[in-house]
Every structure is written in structure tokens, then in C-alpha cells.
Amino acid sequence: MQPTPWTVIAIYFVVALVVAGAICVIPGLFTRKRPTKEKLEAYECGVPPTSQFTGRFPIRFYLVAMLFVVFDVETASFYPWAVRLRQLGLFGFTEMLTFIIVLGVGYAYVWKKGGFSWR
């Protein structure tokens, strides 16, 4: 059979499935299960867990994470622009300025509405 670029991907898939499946299945065949209280606890880097996992925690964590992601992703789009700045010239500069202004309005909106304050 003539190998195509897809053959490589197919081989990759098969190997990934076999390795992952083996890791899941083989240990179970050879071990004895002797669970103790300590073993069944959630692993928190060796520190005894202090609370249950299924708790509720304040929405401000989500808010901070979400706002961070939004503005973080926006800054990522500066990189390709910076690399091609000379070729894009004045047009690229004004485009990026417009982008920053639009972004700035959103930033100001979040700030003024108290999105950044830890209440």
C-alpha cells in the first residue's frame, strides 16, 4: 500500500489508543485492591485535604479568570501585527489603533462597572 500523509496519522492514532488503553488496563490485571481511608482520599500534593471538592465558591473567581482570558487573548493578536508592522505600514498602525480603542472601551466598561474590584 502506498503510504499517504494520512497513514502516519492513522498509525499515530492506533499507537495512542494502544498505549493509553494498556496503561489503563494492565495494572488492573496484576494488582490486589486493598483500599484504606488514606488511599481513597483526594491527592493534594501530600497535604491532607481540608475540605470537600463539591463546594460552592464565589463567582468572583470565575469573573477574574474570564476577564483575564479575554484580555490575554486580545494581546495575543498583537504579535503577528508586530512581526509584520513594516509591511502593513500606516494602514496596519491605524487598524491596530482602532482595535486598541475598541478594546479600551470594553476595558473601561468593565472597570467602571466594578468588574475588577474584589467585592
Binding site: Q87, L88, G89, F91, G92, V105, G106, A108, Y109, K113
Partner: protein, 475 residues
């Protein structure tokens, strides 16, 4: 017209979107700067930017051009869709004027989100490659996820937003993965490149298109990807539900039709899954509506069925199908917005009149709203002398001319319509039968919803009795 790095940019084509974006930003700024900007001011800015966008759209009439290296098209087709989206936005903003402070959310962010949502729809209407399609869909969806939750003091609104965002993200995943496979098979993201890939076929292309179709069918609420509709429609604030029922369908049909015409062309076998989900939608939508006791849920199921009907316009991918699709979309939009207008009018912007029991004997308390609601229901069902009837006539013609799948679609359309006669007829019957001593919910009488009701009623009657007026508009 200017050109940067070999890519030409036609600002005239982009002007309607730029105008609307500026309006959205202005709403945010005014909301920021002025502590006391009333919601009337903010919503008025939205309506003014609608008008500005429309004025920018006027010179593009009858003008065919692609810009941004073929990524974005302006033609007769996108023009009509843009007009319909702007009309929907304007009516929704008018209906939203009934929102009260205790409904939750600031009026500034609410109005800005509606505007941004419409921009997403306009991007979808002109999108000529997979990346722009995805950008448009995401802008539309992300704004709508939040809008669904803008009634957050009510738990149902939170539930609607959460369900919508979870299932919507899943659909977006299908969409983007399908796009990736399509790109892999075609070697380009433009619809022209996809056309050559569609002609040669191939497993990768079929798999990609199947996934893409799943994502799009979710946005269109075609069965079996419709399960989110009843809950999201019921939980969302009234004006948002009306907007959702119309704008999302309009924008997603713009994408679907462009793909059917530019990528596949006549009698393509690859569109068979689309015909199948359309048949299923017509059945599920109409049968599911029978049991509903909540008008928002009922209209949700109705919108599932209507989406199925609209696919019939594309059957066989005939050139006349586009006119049929446009007529039906305009008829559906006016009818649907009118029905939500009546609901907002009676309930004074709240969900008080979402319960179908509140409509019992409505004629004897509020004859005009009852008459308007009956008119809209007749149009949704397809009773003669309404726009919905003429639209269905066009759809049937389209279906019966389009080979075996077209005939199957047309026959299901007739069957679904018969079921829907019962669904809508029962509500109209309730409205016109006298009930003794029933404690009815008090009904509101604000001016704003009358605008939506009047626009819907005039459109439904004029396009129903004189459909040639629509043809004369040459949309």
C-alpha cells in the same frame, strides 16, 4: 477602495457593519459616562444606529461585490438579510423599552449586546468563507448566551443561559471541527474552494460537512438538535426570545443558503442529511407543540417546525428557491415578532401572558390584541389571506418541482401544517370562547408593543393578500 498587502478593502461594503458597531460602542460609552442615562436614551441610540446602518446599506442595493480577498460578499442576497436583521433589531429594541429595573442587568449592556448580536448576524449574511462564518456565528451566539440570562433575578433565565451556553459551545465545537476537516479536504477556507472539493467528493469532505451541518442545525434548532429550544425560549426575557426566534434563524439560514448554492448547487447528494433533519423538524416541532401549555414554549416548538419548512425552499437548490426563502423568512419574522409583541403588550413586558390559560376568553376582555394574536396564529399555521399561507404555497411549489426528496419534504410540510392547525386553532378557540367568572391576569396597555404588533399585522396582511408587493420590492 483601498488595497493593503494585495488585499483590497471596500469600505462601502463594510459600512453597514461599521455603522452598527460604532452605535454599539457609543451605547457602552454613554452608559459609562452618564450616570443617569435613561434606558430610553440608550435604546434610542441603538435604533438610530440601526437607521444609520440601513442608510449605509441603501447604496449597496443591487450591487454585487466581494471584499477582503473574497472573504466577505455583498449581494442582493446579503442585502435582504441585512435589512431583515436591522428590522428585527429595531423592533426588539422597541419591545425592550418595557424592561424594568428589577428585570436585572443594566440597560446599557443589554442594548449593546443586542446591537453586537445583530452585527454577528450581518457578518454571517455576507460571510463567504469558513472563518468569517464562524466569527459571525460566535459573535451572534456569545451575545445571545448573555442576553438569555439578562432576566437573572428569575431562576428560569439563569437556567436558560446556562443550558444555551453549554449546548451552544458543544455545537460550536462541531462547527469548528467540521470547518477544520473541510479546510483539510479543500485546501482553502473560501466557499469557492469548497465547491471544487464538493464536486470531487471524498470521505474527508463528507465527514467535515456532516459535522458542520450538525453545528448549523443546532443554531437553526432543527430536530434532533432542537432540545435546547423550549427551555431557553421559556426562560429568556420576552423581547430576547422574540429576537432569538427571528434573528438567529435569519442569520443561520443566510449561511445555510449560501453554502447550498455556492458549494453544492443543484441536486447534490450531500444535502440529503439536510432534507432528513428538515422532515424530522417539521414532525417534532408540530407534534411537540400539541402538549405545550406555555406560549413561549409553544412558539419555540413552532420555530422548530418553521425552520423545517424553510429548508423546503432550498430543496433541489433551484434559483427560485432564494426568493421563496426570503419571502418565507420575512413572513415568519413579521408574524413571530407580532406574536411576541402581543404577549409583551398584554403582560406589560413580563411573562404574565406566557401561560396559555391567560388567553381564555381574551376576546371579551381585549378584542384587538386577541384579533392580532389570532391573525398571527393563522399566519403561522398557514390560513389563506395571510403571509404564511402564500409562503407555504411557494414552498410547496418549490418542493414538488425538486425530485423525490423535494416531494417528501412537501408532503411532510402538508402533514405538519395539518397538525399545526389543531395546535394554533385550539388557542384561537380558547381566546374566542366565553368563560364565566375566570380570574384573569391583569393586562397592560403600553404603547411600545403596539409598534411591533402593528408592523407584524400590516406585513402579515399585505404580504398575504397582495404577495406581489413583496416581489415589487425586489429584495
Amino acid at each position: 477602495m483601498m488595497s493593503v498587502a494585495g488585499v483590497s478593502i471596500s469600505w462601502a461594503v463594510l459600512a453597514p457593519i461599521v455603522a452598527l458597531s460604532a452605535g454599539g460602542l457609543l451605547i457602552m460609552l454613554v452608559d459609562l459616562v452618564s450616570r443617569s442615562a435613561s434606558k430610553t436614551v440608550l435604546y434610542s441610540i441603538g435604533i438610530v444606529s440601526c437607521v444609520a446602518s440601513f442608510l449605509a446599506l441603501v447604496p449597496l442595493y443591487g450591487h454585487t461585490e466581494t471584499t477582503l480577498a473574497g472573504a466577505f460578499a455583498s449581494d442582493r442576497f446579503s442585502w435582504a438579510f441585512d435589512v431583515l436583521l436591522l428590522l428585527t433589531l429595531a423592533i426588539t429594541l422597541v419591545l425592550s423599552s418595557l424592561r424594568k429595573a428589577e428585570d436585572g442587568g443594566s440597560p446599557g449592556s443589554y442594548a449593546a449586546l443586542l446591537v453586537f448580536c445583530t452585527i454577528g448576524g450581518m457578518v454571517m449574511a455576507g460571510a463567504n468563507n469558513l472563518i468569517i462564518i464562524f466569527l459571525g456565528i460566535e459573535q451572534l451566539s456569545l451575545s445571545l448566551y448573555v442576553l438569555a440570562g439578562t432576566g437573572f433575578p428569575r431562576e428560569a433565565s439563569q437556567e436558560a443561559a446556562l443550558k444555551y451556553v453549554l449546548l451552544g459551545s458543544l455545537a460550536s465545537g462541531f462547527l469548528i471541527f467540521g470547518s477544520a476537516l473541510l479546510y483539510g479536504s479543500a485546501g482553502g477556507v473560501g466557499l469557492a474552494a469548497l465547491h471544487s472539493a464538493a464536486v470531487s467528493g471524498g470521505t474527508l469532505f463528507i465527514a467535515g460537512f456532516a459535522l458542520f451541518l450538525v453545528g448549523l442545525a443546532f443554531k437553526l434548532a432543527l430536530a434532533p438538535f432542537h432540545t435546547w429550544v423550549p427551555d431557553v425560549y421559556e426562560g429568556s426575557p420576552l423581547a430576547v426570545t422574540g429576537y432569538m426566534a427571528v434573528a438567529v434563524k435569519v442569520a443561520a439560514f443566510a449561511v445555510l443558503a449560501r453554502i447550498a448554492y455556492e458549494v453544492f448547487g443543484q441536486d447534490s447528494f450531500a444535502l440529503v442529511p439536510l432534507w432528513s433533519v428538515a422532515i424530522l423538524s417539521m414532525l417534532v416541532g408540530n407534534l411537540g407543540a400539541i402538549r405545550q401549555r406555555n406560549l413561549k414554549r409553544l412558539l419555540g416548538y413552532s420555530s422548530i417546525a418553521q425552520a423545517g419548512y424553510m429548508v423546503v425552499a432550498l430543496a433541489g437548490v433551484q434559483q427560485s428557491g432564494l426568493n421563496t426563502l426570503l419571502f418565507y423568512l420575512f413572513a415568519y419574522a413579521l408574524t413571530s415578532l407580532g406574536a411576541f409583541g402581543v404577549m409583551a403588550l398584554l403582560g406589560d413586558g413580563t411573562d404574565a401572558y406566557a401561560d396559555l390559560d391567560a388567553y381564555k376568553g381574551l376576546h371579551f376582555r381585549r378584542p384587538w390584541p386577541a384579533a392580532a394574536m389570532a391573525l398571527f396564529f393563522f399566519s403561522l399555521a398557514g390560513i389563506p389571506a395571510t403571509a404564511g399561507f402564500y409562503g407555504k404555497l411557494l414552498l410547496l411549489q418549490q418542493g414538488f418541482l425538486a425530485g423525490p426528496w423535494g416531494i417528501a419534504l412537501a408532503v411532510t410540510l402538508v402533514a405538519g401544517t395539518l397538525v399545526s392547525f389543531y395546535v394554533y386553532g385550539k388557542v384561537v378557540w380558547d381566546m374566542y370562547s366565553y368563560v364565566e367568572g375566570e380570574a384573569a391576569a391583569p393586562s397592560g396597555n403600553a404603547f411600545a408593543p403596539w409598534v411591533a404588533v402593528a408592523a407584524g399585522a400590516v406585513g402579515t396582511i399585505v404580504f398575504g393578500i397582495l404577495p406581489q408587493t413583496f416581489t415589487a420590492l425586489h429584495l
